[in-house]
Amino acid sequence: MKSFVRLTLAGMARSCVRGHRSALSLPMLLLFFSATLCFAANPVLIGSKKFTESYVLGEIAKRTLNETGIPAEHRQGMGGTIILWEALRGGQIDVYPEYTGTIAQEILKTERQLSVQEIRDALTKFGVGMTEPLGFNNTYALVMRRNEAQRLGIRTIGDLGKHPELKIGLTHEFLDRRDGWQPLRQRYSLPQLNIVGIDHALGYAALAKGSIDVKDAYSTDAKIAENDLVALADSFDFFPKYDAVFLFRTSLRDDAIGALRGVAGTLDEARMVRLNAEAERTKNYTKAANLYFQNAAGSAVTAGESFWQKLVRWTLRHLELAGFSLLLSIITGIPLGILASRGGAIGNMILGFAGVMQTVPSLALLALLVPLPFFGISVRTAITALFLYGLLPIVRNTASGLQDIPRSLRESAIALGLTPAARLWQIYLPMASRSILSGIKTSAVINVGTATLAALIGAGGYGEPILSGLNLNDHVTILEGAIPAALLALIVQWSFDLLDRVLIPKGLRL
């Protein structure tokens, strides 16, 4: 089961890394398009794409803003280019890291190489601004083992022409692309025939073993540093520029724009490679981002978002999800329960409906809501699903609690001349309070549990570390979410028990 989830997420992550400049995959759209938050929107919202480097840049932007005293939140790994771009234009995020080449090709849809200024001008009409390049160019590169390259005296791609015996392993994507192997070979008049298609990840292993001598890579890939490889210079500027920049909404507060602009020109390729390597080694993007600030400022001022800060954030969000949906369940569940307590066709219909809601497993409930116009991938959807899910215990217990009130007391209330509303509020509901509260407690606990699934649609909460832990195959991270979730359930349980003392009238507890 665990492996099942892990496999999936790992698979997604992989496919995202490989195609990160062009991928618009439906599942990712559905899954990781982060919440159009319906409440609390003060902080600057930073988005990132679903691969390591984008995460790290997002963290850097966040800490940069925080250090300027601007509150910022980072929605990690929301999806591919188009998702991020649409989110930025739609105002769901304010900032995200992008690459100039990607902007030209994917967003502005041009074949030409555009200058930074041309790009900036074109973006203005979308209400989007762009910083100067951050300092590194994450484009394609051909890489070799450093010692081999030195031994053979190969520094540029052109130098490969002198060594037709070298075995070249290329990813299929690179073999296929119109700016890939074929035109490159022509541009540099390379004689090589010794080409094999090989998976990107496997390629590094093959390179290390010596089964191949040259492979394609992204120029800031952490693996380059890890495997002591060297990227060959693209002396003819064959590969388009993929300079990293931050895109932001022009409506963003000026101090925030200023702070982001400050990052421009401070991150060269070597540094980015090191940050990426750190992120992949420690599985901690914040830590990697902190490296940037350490070297820049010369000292580590803060440790970024500490575990406790994250815990607080998850907890608040989890409470928000479970609490808000519970509130909805209560305020609709009790009236429905009152109706249901009268029995008859309406009562059966209400209980039937709530039952069917409980039957549709939480995942399916999310799946059914996501395609609907109002819902989509949002906190709204998560809360609605949780709300529907928590309905049954409240409805049913309200009904059974009311039906259990002795007839003599019901008649007393009627004979007194109380209006039906007063009877309900002052007599029936207090007398059924134990049963109703018991339903609410069940519902609360169910909601706390099911809310962990909300992270699947980017709604956050304890599900976030659980999913991210499954993704990184990191058990500690999983437990960082799972243990607090279980504790929260216990706390909810016990605090409701305390509430019993307040809400169940003393006369009923004698």
Partner: protein, 247 residues
């Protein structure tokens, strides 16, 4: 003076047997009508029909010259005080809250309620310090007095009392009988009282109604019943109660 409540051919049957045969009865304004009869003869049923807890199968009931319908019953109930036989105190409310429930609902002022409450406690000899207790913390007789206070709280036009003094000791009972009778006379209170104590019936009853097996057997003063019994059952019933006078 006309009748405050007028029953015309009111009948009620439960699944297996009639509890009330078609019955005519009028409750005169300003008088105390006492309902007596063997256990299970339909006394409580009659009261429950009047206050609309169970709908009669047939017949009509007029209250203050207008017919009781499901529409107006809600408002009429506020003009009626009812002491249910089982007590019917709400367990989640203190004695005080039980008594004041309806007054609060109608938005009476605090002073007014407090004054009336003290008056009632004195009337029923109910210790004030017990007002904060929940029904489960009271003795049987104390509960019964709380029920009575609840019914009297709003000075209703009509009082329906279903064995309101059954669980009271002779001391409290005697003085309560005396006080109630005085108050009823002073206020021209209309009341329908069910009791098993013939002495009590005689003491209160301007008009005594003797029922048996769902029918009114005889209606009149205690002297009528004693000296001009409608049938042997009446004499038997009237003479049954053992007097405290010992051999």
């Amino acid at each position: 003076m006309s009748a405050l409540v007028q029953l015309l051919a009111v009948a009620k049957r439960y699944a297996d047997a009639p509890a009330l045969h078609p019955t005519d009865l009028s409750i005169e304004r300003g008088k105390t009508t006492v309902l007596i009869g063997p256990s299970g003869c339909g006394k409580s049923t009659l009261l429950r029909v009047i206050i609309g807890l169970i709908p009669p199968d047939s017949g009509t009931i007029d209250f203050d010259a207008s017919q009781i319908t499901p529409v107006n019953i809600e408002m009429l109930r506020r003009r009626i005080g009812y002491v249910i036989q089982e007590g019917g105190l709400f367990p989640h409310l203190t004695a005080r809250a039980n008594i004041l429930l309806m007054a609060r609902h109608l938005g009476k002022s605090d002073e007014e309620m407090h004054a009336r409450l003290l008056e009632l406690c004195e009337l029923t000899r109910f210790p004030e310090n017990l007002l904060a207790r929940y029904p489960l913390e009271l003795s049987g007789g104390q509960r019964q007095r709380v029920s009575l206070m609840r019914a009297l709280m709003l000075s209703p036009e009509l009082l329906l009392l279903d064995e309101p003094l059954g669980a009271l000791d002779p001391l409290v009972r005697a003085s309560l009988q005396k006080d109630l009778k005085e108050i009823f006379a002073r206020l021209c209170q209309t009341a329908l009282l069910v009791t098993h104590d013939l002495a009590e019936a005689a003491y209160f009853g301007d008009d005594i109604v003797l029922m048996n097996e769902g029918r009114v057997v005889q209606q009149g003063s205690i002297t009528d019943l004693r000296e001009r019994p409608a049938n042997p059952f009446v004499s038997e019933f009237i003479n049954a109660q053992r007097s405290v006078a010992l051999a």
